[in-house]
Amino acid sequence: MGWTRYFRRRNWDAERARELDAYLEQETADNLARGMMPEAARRTAQRKLGNITNIREEIYRMNTLEFLETLWHDLRFGLRVLGKTPGLTSVALLSLALGIGSTTAIFSVVYGVLISPYPYARPGEIWAPEIRDARNPRKSLGAYLPDAYVQVTKLPAFAEVMATNPENRLLTGNGSPENFTTVSVTSNAFQFLDVPPVLGRAIAPSDVHANGQPEPVIVLSYRAWQRLFQGSPDAIGKAIILNDVTYSVIGVMPPRFGWWTSDGGWVPALIDSRQERPLFTIARLRPGISKAVAEQQLHALHLELAKAHPARFPTNGFTTVLNNYLDITAASGEMQSSLQLLFGAVGFLLLIACANVANLQMARATARRREIALRMSVGAGRGRVLRQLLTESVALSLVGGVLGILLAVAFTRAIVMLMPEFYVPNEARISVNGYVLAFSAGISVLTGIVFGLAPALECSRLQLVETLKDATKGAGTSAAGGQPRNLLVVLEVALSVVLLMGAGLTVRGFVNLQKTDVGFQPERVLMVGLQVSPKRYATYEQRIAFTEDVLRRVRATPGAESAAMGNGGLPFGGPQSGFSIEGQPPVQAQRILVNLISADYSKTLGIPLRAGRLLSEQEVARGDAVAVINEAAAKFWTAGVSPIGRRVRLDLLDKPGNALLPAGRATPVFTVVGVLANTRNAGLRDAPDPAVFLPYTVIAPTGRMLAVRTQGSPMMLLNAVRQQVQQVDKDQPLTRPITLEEILGQQTVQPRFNMALFTFFGLQGLVLAVVGIFSVLSYAVVRRTHEIGVRMALGAERSDVLALLFRMGGKLVLTGLAAGLLGSFALARILRSEVFQVPVTDGLALLGVVTILSVAAFLACLLPARRASRLDPMIALRHE
């Protein structure tokens, strides 16, 4: 006996049957002996024993774990039923999988990038001060000079304050020279961030001497450690040379630690009040101090500082704000709003998926009302029927759930691959989020179960006889259950219209962006950075000689059409400066973009000259006080006045003692000699900023940008350019080689990401909604087969039947479409977002959405309608 009996049941049953037979024979024999007739003897014996089948069943059940037994039966039956309707089943599975997969993937990304991107201690309690320009909030300041920083650290509201200043240094010694991101941090930084190193120790306050001089020690990032020391633990104590200063490696941080760099290192900062390096400052509040109090204290300090150094603060007045570190750093601006919107979008998608599952389950179960009624009428207990339906729904939902999990993993990977790295903090780690997976899977599975059960509950309340009678009549007039299903379809269509609108707007925005005239010719231009060692090239003359030498050699390289040397963003961005125009009252709020260029700049980038002339070779070589401006800047002069020959004063070059090494005779006043056409220097989406172009030789910073227009593919020339540079200085690295087209491409990465995801989810929503329409109509055809037969028998044409079904489908679709469009307008008013560059009233997007939806809905109606119109009335009438 024991557990083996569960496996020997068949045997057992046969033995019991024999035993009962033996009883019957014995009893019959006894009865015969009592003088009964054989016939009566057997009957009496049988009566005495009772129902043999019942007895055997009773014994059989004793040998089973009944729950498991019925579960297994139900499961097999359920899978058979599901397999009989592969269409419905796969659609339900697809809905579940897409809903779960997309929701989980997007939330995983949102969690990794927005909610918990940092390994630092309590990142939500880190505050960054901002001095916000009263007139132009975009031009606000977030860094202090060292003397001001020291005062900020003394404010009573702050428990701890730290500062960061990144720079590129030249790494020499082992291997080829390279640019190494070296982040100076105050000595308390690692206490402040509170992440333990994986090797050695982090920077400690003892690494800075009492006189403020820091020890030459460096903590390496994980990647730099892998790259420079092959991940060897011996790295601790080794030396690396940065800008000709020897630093000793004291520690290695874990891979996720990426404070301002994930491929460089951290050194203790020199806090010297004579220095002009900006210190990016963050703070933690003292316990019990509110943000508002801290802001007041900080503002009071700012006002004091502004009195002492008015030039450092906005002239139009300012406010002081403390920003939460997570708000300003975790996936900046557009990426943030894009992810938030996408999260909303997948929420809709999950809703559509659930509605679809509910719909299908209801259709399926309603179709089985008769079967259920029949089962109950022949004695199946209500609980037993419920359990069977439950098993079916759970099986369906679980399979869908598993598919959903697989999709979630795949989608998450795809999104991470699509995501523009630039917008994501380098500390962020994105992986499938277990909680969300559980949540979305739970929701969808629950939907499947609840709606799978609803008809069973209804059925058990139902008059069995009615249902059976109704069913035999062909269910022609019964509309029960139709209303909620129609409503679900309308909801689905409406939600998918909203999703499609989002997709349409992102597509339109992207297309607009692609069509933007950038104002220069981006083809065949190679850009490389040149970062010279400040020690080796200590003087203005050395630096200029180096760049001139490089420029001359590169120009002469076969395959190079022209070359230009410059600074900052060629062609985007760059430093901005206050300015004043000679002979005009000073305009306070205006700033101008300052570009440093060599003579061939406009030729190399292909920017047409509008008026006057370009800078000459000689002017650039001498560093003359001449300038070219763009058309936007020309507007600063009074209408009708030509700016050519006029003079402009640039505040940026009026700062003595900065590290930029101005030429001996540099003056902040420049004479305008020409006007260049506008370029999209503020990014593809924004109007061109006013810009002024000066000879690059006016100053001599350590970093320069070299642009080369090539005859063939620009990257093919990279090696030749490198050889030329290293013939001038064999230790000189090239940084970040990139083509101008790639730089332009980066500008469209975020819009492309938005477009790809919104379109993807929009189409998913559409597919699910179409499936919803299709299933409701198909079901209606089945339900109304009898009625359609009657209509046809009474003379309805096939076209009448087609029209009947299209009217039905059309009503659902139009209602959904109207609701969806209204919803989109309402949402667009609430969510003004940079993700959508075109307004929701954009005609083309609107037209596109309506067209796509109508065509898809038409196809969804067509199939069931055709089936209905082809019904043979005779067969339809007999249809049960």
Binding site: M1, R5, E15, R16, R18, E19, L20, A22, Y23, E25, Q26, E27, A29, K48, L49, G50, N51, I52, N54, I55, E58, I59, M62
Partner: protein, 105 residues
């Protein structure tokens, strides 16, 4: 019939020696002077249950009239169980009697 009493009766019947289902059914009927009418069919699930608990064991044998029949015998555990259940039964009967017939004096 009271729940559990059938088990007790079967065990008691088997004290006298092994028997097959038919014999057990009739034995219970006769020895209670036909008061306890066992539906003979219900005997078999009970037999199965007892065997499952290892209180009785079964074997195939030949019946009085030379037919193959399944015989049951009491196991040691069954004997012990019988003693226990009989004791419990006696106590139950006494208790019920005391309630039904209060001391008449």
């Amino acid at each position: 019939m009271l729940q559990g009493t059938l088990d007790l009766l079967i065990l008691q019947t088997l004290v006298l020696g092994s028997a097959h289902g038919h014999t057990i059914a009739h034995a219970i009927e006769h020895r209670s002077d036909d008061v306890l009418q066992v539906e003979h069919g219900s005997l078999y699930p009970a037999l199965h249950r007892l065997e499952d608990r290892a209180w009785i064991a079964s074997f195939w044998g030949t019946s009085e009239n030379n037919r193959r029949a399944r015989y049951y015998r009491l196991t040691a555990a069954g004997r012990k169980q019988l003693a226990e259940q009989t004791g419990r039964w006696d106590r139950l009967v006494q208790a019920v009697n005391r309630v039904l017939r209060p001391v008449e004096e």
